[in-house]
Amino acid sequence: MSENITNTGQPVIQIKDLQKSFGDNYVLRNFNLDLNDVENLVVLGKSGSGKSVLIKCIIGLMLPDAGSIQVFGDEVTDLSHDDLDVMRVKVGFLFQSNALYDSMTVRENLEFPLRRHWIKTEKGSVNDLVMEALTNVGLAETVDMMPAELSGGMRKRIALARTLILKPKIILYDEPTTGLDPITGKEICHLMLDIQKKYNTASIIISHDINCVKITSNRIVMLIDGVCYATGTYEELSKSTDIKIKQFFD
């Protein structure tokens, strides 16, 4: 694994000719994408268009059929299991369903990735890291609560805190506002921006929530029919007259 993860303005993720199919359903057909350092890139597309598949391929949860995915210069499909784990310390993933462990408290949920990645920390500093991550999402008081006791918005924040605890350089957000009311959704979007500034992260945000896209995006990639159909800023794409693009912004 290369350690070249400084803020260089260079692409931190490069995807070339990515293909992925499920039987006869081709969700990604020669998809290309570059994520630059400290950039919020939104991938916009319809449900079932392969957005989540894309970021699961990036993190190594799914294997692509063909194509190249480079994260910090390393080809993800060639990484061994141990190297994938090293890469996953630098790349956080916020799941659509939050994926908090129901049988663990908030503290245990946050400690889990720290302990599993064998990050050598004293007992005191583990606690400090947990409290720092929780404070950054504004939920320090929930540390000893169970996930079932929290609201949807709070669970999303805790899931984000769990992603942040390893201080990743890239965060992959899988539909971060799904299932939340518009006000809470907006709060989560602003929180994502705060985190980008505080942690200097680059992000890929999978979404079809146009308000979230407007708030968070530096750049948008339209994933339509398995390819990168268009790319641009929110202002550029929202003025497009192409019917396939226009329908997302109406």
Partner: protein, 255 residues
């Protein structure tokens, strides 16, 4: 190819076989999840014990009460402790305990892992630097394999005490005499095969519960289906293993 019920059954059996092979491949390689194994042993053993204990007591009591008239008809009441204890230890307790565990542990594992699968907790575990197969499957299967024999030994003891009380309802017999009569007839050939087959019961319950949970699809509806099918499959396999164990014991003259 037309997907018949038989075809689906064969495909699922093949997938279960591959899942079991993966268990043996992953289970004996580091990193070992001892803390999680102990937690699962506690969960499976401790939480199933009251149910198994009460059932064992009732089985011992009822079988003794119901056997008494038959033996009395032949004037063989004094054989009651020996006859009942052999039935309990060889067959009834291991199978009933395994069936209870199939219901409680098999469905519990199926539902828990199924729920984790549909809420992406298993994916989250993998992203967190954990091999979910080792952490979730290997620990649960080993815990079931370790706890089933212990539960059966405890249940044997409790059911024999139930049998002692049942015997005393119709005749007076001291505890010392009861134990003496029981162990006069009960041999290692009765106890050891029942313990050995209980390891296989534990393995079957653990691996099937995990397999069903790990392969859950279709959201929350799938979780219920995984739990239900885990119980059905575990119950069926317990009887198959019992049949095979009886045949093997017979061939090897362990009777």
């Amino acid at each position: 190819m037309k997907s018949t019920a038989l075809h689906k059954l064969l495909v699922e059996t093949g997938e279960l076989y591959r899942f079991a092979v993966k268990f043996f491949r992953e289970g004996f390689r580091p990193r070992y999840e001892f803390a999680e194994l102990l937690r699962q042993c506690f969960y499976i053993g401790n939480k199933t014990l009251p149910l198994v204990g009460v059932t064992g007591f009732i089985m011992g009591l009822v079988i003794t009460i119901q056997s008494h008239p038959s033996l009395e008809a032949f004037g063989a009441q004094s054989w009651l402790p020996a006859v009942v204890s052999v039935s309990l230890v060889r067959e009834i307790v291991p199978v009933i305990t395994a069936l209870i565990c199939a219901g409680k542990i098999g469905s519990g594992i199926g539902a828990e892992l199924g729920s984790m699968k549909v809420t992406e907790q298993i994916d989250a575990m993998e992203v967190s630097g954990t091999n979910p197969f080792k952490y979730l499957v290997v620990t649960r299967v080993f815990a079931a394999m370790l706890m089933l024999p212990l539960l059966i030994i405890v249940c044997d003891t409790i059911s024999l005490y139930g049998s002692f009380l049942g015997t005393n309802m119709k005749q007076i017999i001291t505890f010392h005499l009861f134990v003496s009569q029981v162990f006069d007839k009960l041999t290692f050939g009765d106890i050891v095969p029942s313990i050995i087959k209980s390891f296989f019961f534990g393995f079957a319950i653990g691996i099937i519960g995990c397999f069903k949970g790990f392969n859950t699809t279709n959201g929350t509806e799938g979780v219920g289906r995984a739990a239900n099918s885990a119980v059905v499959a575990c119950t069926f396999v317990v009887f198959i293993i019992d049949l095979m164990a009886a045949q093997i014991a017979d061939i090897l003259h362990i009777t």
